[in-house]
Symmetry: C2
């Protein structure tokens, strides 16, 4: 079996972590008797500065045939975010209908949470985030610019199809995990979109009688991720709320450098994309200290998605093993003094 | 000088904390040589269950003439939130054009933050939240119910007037504080509403050359409130983002029971409303253990708004003094075993 994987290292430390993860990806495949063919596309901000576009016109056709995509990070200090993101990451999520974004938050043994009283393995939940519509919809307008009656509107669009897709995935995961799903909305203040979302959750809940459903408002949920993160199992939320909750989840689990994610095409007709949650981090780019573990965990999710469960578990376990080992190298975001290379070399010995 | 204050204790512990704060409010006024006449309106969920409406039809006219309003909390386990809130709290914010919501987050000496390494007085920032429009606008729709092509939309409306009002208040506060303002948006994903918001901030910034402005995306800002809350001074944000950030602010500062807020009519033609950020807490209602301090701090903000700076400072200092005192009574949310009454009696001795 050979899988074709497109590599989009992107910008800044995105390039460093994808390069670093590559040998581990190959080790894991070899170990489990399948092979991976990777093709690297140097799309991103440097290309934008050179040629005026983050990706070529036929980028989507080019990626279409791959079994999966591994993305590093997108973002450049000299280019507005909405240009880089709307030029690369967001169009891929949309074009391949990656409606579901899955982001686990795990406090690994050996990692310190910024929260008092939380130690290794106390926190373990996964957020399912709607990924292609909702509050990120490109709908709205802006009138009377510069006048006292100037007004801008931003419209969130929630479809049954998109909402059901993410809600169903979340229930599936909850049924396989602890059977507890937290639905996060803001229905008390957003009577149109969010009340509809709650209805979909209620409908789908009927198909999963063994899953208990808790409803939380996004303000309370944000607090609870700080106050009682150990009590979450599966969380389902809209695009914007999922964005906020997963960043909070990453930080309470010890480091943004450990947060992986999967952008999933649920029907499987187009490739899914895997990426660390962190950004391009221009402040540390080039110093060789970027934490590669979020990318390694994203590769684990990629293998899991392809059905290569053993390779997925091997990568995840190697990371957990390294983190639990006091003597192992760590990057500065985890309080260590090692560089990317040292972490990767050590990790390869643990596979 | 006599001020007329309308009391709206509302539901659950709202009633308990307003009752508890009343004698302290009177002490502080007496101490500073002014007087306060309070009128209490028993509006809220009990009224709704009895008469079908949270407030009478002429509620707004009734409140119109007061110098300020003190609200306890709104919310009842048997009534959906959108009914109670849209029946009482939100219409008052709107009717009296309380466009600016001001919420300080202070980690008082003697209070433990859930964040490792943060001790008394390390955290001290204030959030200015747009309070009557934005993501809470009652705009949107829902079509094709039950069909595969069902869709709901929720529209956020940002006016120049509303946005400028809150941004200007935030800059004023920053100029008087540390001169640092953090503008929180999601402009990389919401190109209509949030990009407009950023423009208003840039415009107003020109009038305050001594204030430095930092831009943060809401996901990063949420993380940073956990990662480096001590670095914030003044934060300005939309209705929804302000809602999330102030709940996070309350929790990192040790307890929801210590978070006060002001809903301000900037032009002063209608009353402003002061309220603790916490809700009606049905789980502890009737047990006499509700923390009255968020309400006392809200009364401090009320006095400050009326120009009674000394009384405002006296109340704030009494709370700080009590919290810093190891031997003073504390409610359970702060790790103590005392009730509301004991906290209030002790507080009166510190005025
Ligand atoms: C960069 C940004 C558009 C993106 C998002 O909000 O989706 C990022 O924050 C993420 O979470 O992947
Ligand atoms: C109850 C709810 C509508 C309200 C809000 O979101 O404004 C509350 O959370 C608050 O922060 O005052």
């Amino acid at each position: 079996m050979t899988y074709d994987i497109a590599l989009l290292p992107g910008d800044g430390i995105g390039v460093e972590v994808v390069d670093a993860a590559l040998p581990i990806l190959e080790d894991a495949a070899e170990r489990d008797g399948f092979s991976v063919e990777t093709t690297r596309y140097d799309w991103g901000s440097e290309r934008y500065l050179r040629e005026g576009a983050m990706m070529p016109d036929d980028a989507i056709e080019t990626l279409e045939g791959y079994d999966a995509i591994l993305l590093g990070a997108v973002g450049h200090p000299d280019i507005p975010d909405h240009v880089t993101l709307r030029g690369m990451m967001l169009p891929i999520r949309k074009a391949f209908d990656q409606q579901v974004c899955k982001r686990p938050s795990v406090l690994f043994e050996g990692v310190e949470s910024p929260l008092r009283g939380y130690d290794g393995e106390d926190i373990d939940f996964v957020v399912f985030r709607e990924n292609t519509e909702g509050e990120y919809s490109d709908a709205g307008g802006h009138e009377h610019r510069g006048y006292p009656h100037e007004v801008a509107v931003q419209t969130a669009i929630y479809t049954r199809q998109g909402t059901e897709a993410v809600v169903r995935e979340a229930f599936e995961a909850a049924a396989e995990r602890e059977g507890h799903l937290t639905n996060v909305t803001k229905s008390n203040a957003q009577a149109h979109g969010m009340v509809f979302w709650d209805q979909i959750v209620e409908e789908v809940a009927e198909e999963y009688p063994d899953v208990t459903v808790e409803r939380l408002l996004v303000d309370a949920a944000s607090m609870d991720l700080v106050r009682r993160p150990d009590e979450f199992d599966v969380v389902v939320a809209s695009n914007l709320f999922g964005d906020i909750l997963t960043d909070l989840g990453a930080i309470v689990s010890g480091s943004m450098g450990l947060a992986p994610s999967a952008n999933i095409n649920v029907e499987g007709h187009s490739p899914s994309m895997f990426e660390p949650v962190h950004g391009s981090a221009p402040d540390i780019t080039g110093e060789g200290v970027a934490n590669p573990l979020a990318t390694v965990l994203s590769v684990s999710m990629l293998f899991d998605h392809l059905g290569e469960d053993d390779a997925a578990a091997a990568l995840w376990d190697a990371v957990a093993d390294q983190l639990a080992d006091d003597g192992a190298p760590r990057t500065p975001d985890l309080g260590g003094e090692s560089g990317t290379e040292a972490v990767v070399s050590d990790l390869r010995t643990r596979l």
